[in-house]
Each structure stands twice: as C-alpha cells, then as structure tokens.
Symmetry: C2
Subunit: 461 residues, 2 copies
C-alpha cells in the first residue's frame, strides 16, 4: 500500500479511508486496552496520533513499539476525539522496521538541553527543534536560489581549495596531500612544489574575488557555498565551516547594492513567514516569544541608511555606557550596532562609508581619501548580518592599495586583470547563511542552526 | 538613465525608444563614417549591435572602444538592416568604463582553443562558449533545487571537513592548521591532538553518510555540495574538486530509487531543453552536432533496467572486441557501459545488483550473498552518470560487513547508530554535477564545465 506523508494526511478529511504512514514513534501512552502512538515522519513538525486497540495485537510485539522505533502503520483515518489534532489513525496493522532500546536510545520523551543534543548531532534531527530548524534551513536556501534565479543572476561555484590568501580574513586551513611525517623543507621553507597542486593551498574564506571575475562577464552572479575560518574561538557566534551567499553585480554602485541587500533580506524573511508557519510558531513558543514579531519588523520597515561617521556621532552623543568606547576610526562592536538598531532607530540600519583602514583592500575609495564605499546591514539581536561594498574599479588605485598594504601583488595578477581589461563599476556583499538562520529561527547558538557544526576540537559525525 | 539587459532589449519591438545598455565590446567593425559594435552583457549569448556614426564622436575617444572594453551606450532602438538580429541601437552617447589594450588583452575576436582558455580561466567567462556553459550550469543547479523542493525534500548541508574516511573512495586531502615545519610526532605517529580539531581531518569525498542521518529523521533529503578526490589523474574526466548531488530517502527500496533517478534525470534534461535554447543551439552548432538530439533521446526513452549479471552476459555474447575483457565480478569499464547504451539497447540503461566485492560496504546485501542492491545509471557518451543503492538497514549485517572489510568500526559509531535506533529501509544515489554538465553541454573535457577547475598542479585563480 502506498505510503502517505503525515503532512498530507493531517490536512485530509477523507474520514474512513484506509491510509498507510511510515515514521518514527515520538511517544507512546498506554491506557486500558488502548495505546496512543505519536508518529512523526519529518514532513511536518506535527505528529499524527495512531490509536491502537491493544487486545488486537500480540503483547510481545507491541512492547517493541517504543519511543524512537520506526514503524509502518495502516489503518482508517478518523476524526480525532482528543484535542490538538483534527484526525488520527485507527491502527489495523503495525510493522516494525526498527526498534530503539529504551535503555540506550538517548532521545526519550522528555526535553533535552541544546548542549546535550550537540553531543548527539547524528540523532538530533529527530527532535522537534532540529526538525523545525532543518526544514527552515532548506526553505531559506531555496529562497536564496529562487530570489536570484528570478532576477536573472547566474549561480557560480567558486573554488573551495584556493592558492591565495587574498582577503586576509584571519587564519586559514591548509590543504595538503604531503606525508606530514616527511614534509620537505628547503632553506627553512616548506617545499610545496611536491604538494598536490605544486603550491601552498588553503580552504577559501570567501568566494568574492572569483565572483568578481564572473560578474565582469555575466553581469549578475552569486555564490552560495562553504567558507572556512581557522579561528580558535569557542563562542556561540563562530564556526570553522559555514555557508556564505555572495552576490556580485556589474554596473551596480553603492546605492544599488543597498537596495539589493534590503530587497534580498526582506524577501527571505517574508518567504520564511509565508512558508514555515508551523515551524516558526513552534520556535516562537519554545525559544523566542518575539521571533515572529521580529521577522515582521524587518519586512515592514524601511532600513535606515546613514554613514559610519554619522553613526559614530549618534553613539557618542547617546549618553549610553558601552563596554567598548566608540571612536571614529575603530570598528563598531556588536553592542554599538545593536544600540543603533534596537534603541536609537528601532529599525534595521545600513551603515556606509567606513574608514578605509578597517575595511578590505578592494573597496572603492571615496574622494576624501579617508573612507571607502563599504556598507554593513545591521539587524536587531544580531548586529551585522550583511557586509559589502562597491569595489574599486580603477586599476591604478587598486594596485596602489595592494602595495600600501604590502600584499602579494604577483599572486593577485588574475584579480588585477579584471581592472586592466574592460573594468566596470561593480558592487556586492556577503550574507553569512548561519547568521540569517539565527535570525529567522530565534536560536542563540550558531552550532544549532547548521546540521553538523565544525568548531575547535569538534569534527565528529 | 536606467540600464536594460541585452536579453530584454533583443526581444523588444519599441522601435524609436531611447535605451541604455552596458556591456563588453565583443568586436568592432569599421566602415566609412560608421562603426559597428557587438556588445554583450552576459545576460544572453547574443550580442546587440550598436551602430556608431563616427563623425559624431571624437576620433581619439572611439579608438579606445575596442574588443574587451566595457562601455555604456545610449541610443535609439531601431529595426536592424543587417541579418542575424532584429534590432540594433543607433548610438547617441558612449561612455567608456574600462579599456582593453589590444596589445595585451588575450581575448581577441578570433576563436581560441579550449586549452588556451583554460590558462586564462579568469577571463574565459567572457567568451561565448563559457558564457553558455556557465548560464547552463546555473540553470541545472536551479533545476536540481526546484525538483527536490517541489517534492518536499529537505536540502541538507553535510560537512566539508570530515574526521572519517568512511567511503574509502580513494585518496583524500588532509586539512590542518599545524605548522608543517614543526609537525609533532610521537611513537612514529603524527600527534593530531595538537591540530585544530584534535584529530586527523580531511575533505569529504561524499555527503552520503551524513545524508543518511538526516533522512532517518526528515524522510526525504538531498545534499548538493563540493566533494574532493586527491587522485593524481590528469585526464579529461577527473577533477580534484567537484560538486555532487546526493538524495537519500527513507522507506525507498531499490525500485523506488531507480524511479527517482530516472525522473530526476529526465526533469533536468527537459529543463535544459526548455530553458537554455539559445545556449544549447550555440553549443550544438559549435561542439556537438548531435547534442540536442541526445538530450531528446533521454527525455523520450524509458530507461532499460537489468541486472549486472544480465549485462555481463550480453557483453560476453556480443562478439564485440573490447579493450578490457568482461568477466563476472569485475567492474565494468566505460567502453562496456557505452556498448550497452549506444549499441545494444540504444536507450539509457540502469544496471542493478552488482557483486558486493566491487561496491561499497553500506549497500544492502541480496539474499544470494553474492550481490548487493546497487544501481548505476548509464548514459550515451558518458557511461555511468549516477551511482546509488538501497542501503543495508540491518545493524548486524552492516556491522559484519564493516568487520569483514576491516574498517574502523569505532570511528563509525554514529553511522551504525542509525541502524541501532529506529532503522528503516532507505535508498539514495549520487549524481556528479560535472558529469551532468558534460552531458547537457556536449563538452568533452570536465575542466571546461566548472568555472575554476582544480587538478594536479593547478589551483590558480
């Protein structure tokens, strides 16, 4: 008999029809001559209740139908007597695919701490919380692709293994096939000519530079792939491996870039509100009572746009006592960003034109010689969710900046070539996918919004 | 003035209207008092022609409007006099964003060999061929996500950095943050406790095992991410870094798996035929005159399904002289696969139930003790395009196989747990994205269907 998904059955009104479901027992409640099973198959956060007249089944057999077991149940769809569900199944047959010994199965009926669930990341997708998060992660990833596809952007797979540390964005993971016990060293230097790629290679920290190459041909492109930071940070905001979305658009200037970022974020949040209702309600109730309200806040408000310099002035004159002092020329801390968003403007904020010293070499220099056409989008509860800029399109200015910063200009020849041949104004930004996931799920630890987190001392599963 | 994409303008019939385009000069043809510019902006393979009455512009200025330069042109949209295009632009203003010195710009008007273009992978997206390939790559990636999203699958980001070599699928790249000049060695072994993750880690060769964890909770999942092989092969079929799509479905058995694979491939090929007409026609004309015919062949034919054993019999009795001899128990070579598809059946073929010795440990064992529920989908010109199987869901049988093969069962505890707790029949497969791209573009070298190929001695750009 053809299996139906629980998601579809819960919306069915074909009472009396025979149905077949397959899924995992979330809980079992025994009463006199009857047992109530809550079955979940991952298609939706809600369980369907199967009512079992126990005398109709061998006692020994039903003993194995426990929390965690996988079963196939056929029976009639009936209107539910209990509250909380509209339909249930009056079980006729139960086939057990797999048991779960209550002595050893770690996920019993009672709630578990998020910390404990991180230790069993291979099983946590079987909980309501992680079911909801993973379905929402899918929805957000699909919304990213749909947004750009509908606009005519081209998805570009930028390389993961890279020969260049061009962003200088912190520590990188090295990639090698050399025998670590016999590393060839010559003149005190590792001889990478013996390595797989014949040179030193690392895991990428950003697809942007390659994205720019593609934008200078295809016009509008985006990347969506894994990026890596070997930062030894054990915080609730850091992952060694995370996913980034980086659009890059030829002929866009700073204002176009802000418009795109605002439209993009509103689209994603709206998509979540419209497509993830059940999961959002669950997360709203269990983790963040203001979650749905916060999402509507982003959709309903225009983002405030001001310069970094103006932002610093507001913070200085706020009279608010910050842990870190605000000073023109220094990077803003999360507390400053959140003050602007949550206290001062009560709206999402885009800060622009940051001091060039605290921003990357490729950003377009302003005429004043002090600032660059950077933009950071700041969100409530999160702080910076997007960072981007218009890019420096002048070959001379870019080359000068590379030299000022003593970067390896020989290694960057291919990037510099984009400015040498048919250069054009262009702009782009990066959205950390897990930052977005924190925002739309209301979770507070980044390890809980990626299926298998990679952090210092942790690459299990 | 708001820029329009060339794709949209070429379909416009608003003759006489003023338009603005931005893009790169593909060629310039001078005639008396008039110059013809072919402009491309990446939105479509076709150029738009801009007609320039040269006496209206300073001579010095027009000299810089050369092949490769980036320009912004405004002018009236007029019906084209020439052949090959319906509309053109009578230029009123030309702004040069970036020049391209004809002495050094490598992409001149004439055709370039694919080999040469690989040396300048940072610029090759600006050619017709790579524009077409990259737009098609986008279309195929989007079709993958749309296919699964529409069916209710959940996209799972499986980890890139992994602590386990479970597939045993060839050489792996090691990931480390240790100083290669000072690798700590104890008792002849590298001491990985000092490394970032506190253990030996590599780049993943497959997301399948993690995908199975998710399928045992969410039901229907898929991965789509980069995978890696450190194989020292300099062939037209090998990449060190490539993208894989791996669906995994709880409650599916071998036949469901075949149905899903066939439906999926037909969907993708049909999507290409319907959404990439211009690019396909270009590639058909330039690279493979039978390309579109081959794509229709896949959409129009039911895939032939037979066992490996039956396939071997056919090959043995074919009388065909193969380079490698066919023998039950050995892996089929591409020549054998292609013989079955192209000569014998003249249809795509799915071979099933391979000898267990030549397939992975996790495949479900057949009752005969000799074969496993594997399936390979074979395509014309390509050979194997999909490999998959029903998975062994019995804890005991899986554990025995792990022990038989002397695999590290302690490292696999989390994978074995899926069979210990609520196990279920399930099945899945892997589609190498670049294999698909070879098929739908008609290209013959895998380095030409990924933007920035990674191969031995090659991690430039």
């Amino acid at each position: 008999m053809l299996r139906k998904k629980i998601k579809d059955i819960l919306n069915s009104t074909e009472y009396g029809s025979l149905v077949c479901i397959k899924g995992w027992v979330r809980s079992k409640r025994d009463s006199k001559n009857v047992a109530f099973l809550a079955i979940n198959d991952g298609s939706i956060i809600h369980n369907i209740q199967a009512v079992v007249d126990t005398p109709n089944f061998p006692e020994d057999y039903l003993k194995d139908v426990q929390t965690g077991a996988c079963v196939c149940i056929t029976g009639s769809l009936v209107q539910s007597q209990g509250k909380g569900q509209s339909v249930e199944i009056q079980a006729k047959t139960i086939e057990i695919y797999g048991t779960a010994d209550p002595e050893t199965f770690p996920l019993q009926k009672k709630g578990h701490s998020l910390e404990f669930l991180r230790e069993i990341a291979h099983l946590r997708p079987r909980t309501n919380t992680f079911g909801a998060i993973l379905r929402m992660r899918h929805a957000m990833a699909f919304a990213v692709h749909k947004f750009f596809n509908d606009k005519g952007f081209v998805y570009v797979h930028t390389p993961i293994i890279t020969g260049a540390d061009c962003e200088g964005a912190g520590e990188m993971f090295r990639v090698t096939t050399m025998d670590l016990k016999k590393i060839p060293v010559a003149d005190g230097q590792v001889d990478f000519s013996k390595d797989f790629f014949g040179k030193e290679t690392s895991l990428t920290v950003s697809g942007q530079l390659n994205g720019e190459l593609a934008a200078m041909a295809l016009g509008e492109v985006y990347t969506f792939g894994p990026t890596f930071r070997a930062e030894n940070s054990n915080t609730s905001r850091h992952l060694a491996e995370f996913w980034m979305i980086e659009p890059e658009v030829a002929f866009n200037e700073l204002e176009d870039n802000m418009n795109l970022a605002e439209e993009f974020l509103k689209y994603l949040v709206k998509y979540a509100l419209e497509n993830c209702k059940d999961d959002l309600e669950f997360l709203n109730n269990l983790y963040d009572k203001e979650l749905i309200q916060k999402l509507n806040f982003v959709v309903d408000n225009n983002f405030i746009r001001l310069t970094y310099t103006e932002g610093v002035e507001i913070l200085k004159q706020s009279g608010h006592k910050f842990e870190y002092k605000v000073e023109w020329g220094t990077d803003l801390q999360s507390e400053h960003e959140r003050y602007l968003v949550e206290k001062h403007f009560k709206k999402p904020v885009i800060l622009t034109n940051y001091p060039k010293e605290i921003k990357a070499f490729y950003m377009k220099q302003d005429a004043d010689g002090k600032t660059v056409r950077a933009m950071d989008v700041l969100f409530p509860g999160i702080g910076e969710i997007i960072g981007g800029s218009q890019r420096e399109e002048s070959y001379e200015k870019l080359l000068n900046r590379v030299r000022e910063l003593k970067m390896n200009e020989k290694e960057l020849w291919w990037y510099l070539d984009t400015r040498k041949f048919g250069t054009a104004p262009h702009a782009g930004f990066g959205l950390g996918f897990e930052r977005l996931m924190l925002f739309v799920t209301g979770m507070s630890n980044i390890r809980d919004v990626i299926p298998f987190p990679r952090t210092p001392q942790n690459a299990e599963f």
